[in-house]
């Protein structure tokens, strides 16, 4: 088969998908909701993990894909959410659901503290500052009493949802699926809004955007904070699912992994980023043998994507 026919077939399929978009979407959702009835716990665990990374990748996508800022310490915001829930439920007896707004507030605060001063500067400075910030958060979590030091926190309360304690993997499958869908919805709405356009203006030409009356610092800060809040919320539910957290979950590698999902799928493209998140989780499950080589393979993939397909694996939108 020549490339031409391949291309025309693919576009044919894409066209079919486009015409039956709504039907397909409903069908797909029905399958996703039906899965827990048939799948075993291993599959559910992997899928729940996938949805979880979809949230994180979409959150980072707002920062990297929409606003064009490189954040190398994204795991720190995830840590802020997880530790807020962990500390408040295990040490202060908070109800899980009440910790979410607190975590959102803390994530916002962290976003303002780190983003406020640095977003004025060149974008590469932000990258290194976020990297440093990520390390500071991890080191602080390792060394503070309240975060449980290197061994972390245990005995985090399971949340209740209308009287049912969420303690099955199938529960978390649905929790993370719902959150991922919410994240997709929010990303879509944000992308196609006044704010979303402003991110694109700033990404394409900061000076021209500024000359058009756009406050580039404020606009970037918005992206940074929204990204932080996504990760913060994901962190809350992560803590509830694991019931134990330790600083080693929130390393530089974690931040890089999330970034890879975004880059691989295609920065700024929602379906691409969702696929990227999926690839992130599924790849090591499928290729169990590679073990410690996983990050090496990921890094090589990242380099190849940047060199040969910087727009990511997802095809460009037709305009």
């Amino acid at each position: 088969m020549t490339t031409d026919t391949l291309v025309s077939r693919t576009t044919g399929i894409l066209g079919l998908i486009e015409t039956h978009q709504k039907t397909l979407l409903v069908l797909f959702l029905a399958i996703l909701i039906g899965i827990p009835a048939y799948a075993n716990n291993y599959v559910l665990e992997v899928l729940a993990n996938t949805w979880f990374y979809v949230i994180l990748c979409l959150g980072l996508n707002i920062v990297v894909g929409y606003a064009g800022l490189l954040d190398l310490g994204y795991a720190a915001f995830f840590a802020v959410g997880a530790y807020t829930t962990g500390i408040l439920t295990s040490r202060f007896g908070f109800n899980f659901w009440l910790t979410i707004p607190v975590a959102m507030a803390f994530a916002t605060l962290a976003g303002v503290i780190i983003g406020g001063p640095t977003l004025r500067l060149r974008s590469d400075y932000l990258a290194i500052v976020t990297l440093g910030f990520g390390e500071i958060v991890r080191i602080a979590a390792r060394n503070l009493k309240i975060t449980g030091g290197a061994s972390g926190l245990i005995g985090i309360d399971r949340p209740h949802f209308f009287g049912t304690e969420l303690n099955q993997i199938s529960h978390y499958y649905f929790v993370f699926l719902a959150l991922a869908l919410l994240a997709i919805f929010a990303s879509y709405r944000l992308q196609h809004s006044r704010l979303g356009r402003a991110w694109q203006y700033v990404r394409e030409d900061e000076d021209a955007a500024e000359a058009m009356g756009i406050n580039r610092v404020a606009i970037k800060l918005y992206a940074y904070i929204i990204g932080a809040v996504f990760a913060g919320i994901a962190g809350c539910f992560y803590a509830a699912k694991m019931t134990a957290i330790s600083p080693e979950t929130f390393t530089f590698s974690q931040s890089i992994l999330i970034l890879l999902g975004v880059v691989f799928g295609g920065m700024g493209k929602i379906p691409g980023v969702v696929c990227g998140a999926g690839a992130l989780v599924l790849f090591p499950e499928v290729f169990r043998g590679i073990g410690s080589m996983r990050l090496l393979v990921f890094a090589v993939v990242m380099l190849l994507v940047m060199l040969y397909r910087p727009q990511g694996i997802w095809p460009a939108q037709k305009s």
Partner: protein, 304 residues
């Protein structure tokens, strides 16, 4: 120990640490100056330098011994080898990206950094390697303070390397071309300067200096490991920013200041050594907030 002794001891420690930072910071600042790229992989080049030095030393020490002769030979060979690695990386990963958006080239640099890091990790199985040298522990003692000859030689070696670099930048054609390119790349092309070649030379020099620092760190600490480049990369970047990114004397100065700050900073009672990295990052963030142009940097004028 008396207070004076502590001060002297920390001064010595700070100078050593600062030498390493300066040498690595130079690579950051040179590459940044010429192609405005924050080369994330630079810390890992330093680490690779240490491991290449380790391999070369194991051969060289059989011929020249593991004293200073062997070490100097090792260092020279490592610098050349790692210099070429730097050039190859630039050729494969960075050159195709020079016209791409900033974000793309930053991510590329990150990917290179991760590849080096994980490659060395899997080759060495994540183990520490003993950097065996036979230098002994002779030195001079001043009161309670003891400074080994090794320490003194390392600091002097840094000074020598920096002097050579200074002459290279200011007296040679390549050095002049580098400075010219950092001001206006297009004009340089029009004047017939082979810009790609000069960029390659910049990577060679920057990487070679990092390798020198890597070998010196091996000699000084006695062991090396695959993650030694991560934190020093961050700190050297801090040093480069402190001195004013793009400024070569700035990088030298910034490295020494950061080394001293860190060495004295960890003496503050409630900042334990587990917080010393936080201390350096904290400095970086404060610096970027209050003096992003650094000590010797100039404000950039963007042309409309």
């Amino acid at each position: 120990m008396s207070n004076l002794d502590i001060i002297l001891q920390q001064l010595a420690n700070g100078l050593i640490l600062g030498s390493f930072y300066s040498l690595v910071a130079l690579g950051y600042t040179m590459v940044y100056g010429i192609i405005k790229l924050l080369n994330f992989a630079h810390g890992d080049i330093y680490m690779v330098g240490a491991f290449i030095g380790f391999s070369i030393l194991s051969v060289v020490s059989g011929i020249l011994g593991d004293g200073w002769t062997g070490i100097v030979a090792t260092m020279a060979l490592s610098m050349i080898a790692v210099g070429f690695i730097g050039v190859i990386i630039q050729r494969i990963a960075y050159r195709p990206m020079l016209q791409a958006p900033r974000l793309s080239i930053l991510i590329t640099a990150l990917a290179v950094s991760l590849i080096l890091y994980n490659l060395v990790m899997s080759i060495t199985d994540g183990e520490f390697k003993a950097f065996t040298v036979g230098l002994g522990y002779e030195g001079i003692s001043m009161g309670e303070v003891y400074i080994t000859f090794t320490q003194m030689v390392l600091v002097s070696a840094t000074a020598v390397l920096m002097t050579i670099l200074h002459l290279f930048i200011n007296k040679t054609m390549y050095g002049k071309a580098m400075r010219a390119i950092s001001i206006d790349q297009d004009a340089c092309r029009l004047m017939g300067i082979d810009v790609n070649r000069v960029i390659a030379v910049t990577f060679f020099v920057g990487s070679a200096l990092a390798a020198a620092a890597g070998v010196m760190a091996g000699v000084y600490y006695g062991s090396i490991h695959f993650f030694m480049g991560f934190v020093i990369g961050l700190k050297a970047f801090t040093a480069a920013v402190m001195g004013g990114i793009g400024s070569i004397p700035g990088a030298m100065l910034g490295g020494l200041i950061l080394g001293l700050l860190e060495s004295f900073g960890t003496q503050i009672p409630f900042i334990g050594s587990e917080w010393k990295d936080v201390f350096a990052f904290g400095i970086l963030i404060l610096l970027l907030v209050f003096k992003p142009t650094g000590l010797l940097g100039r404000t950039e004028i963007e042309r409309m």
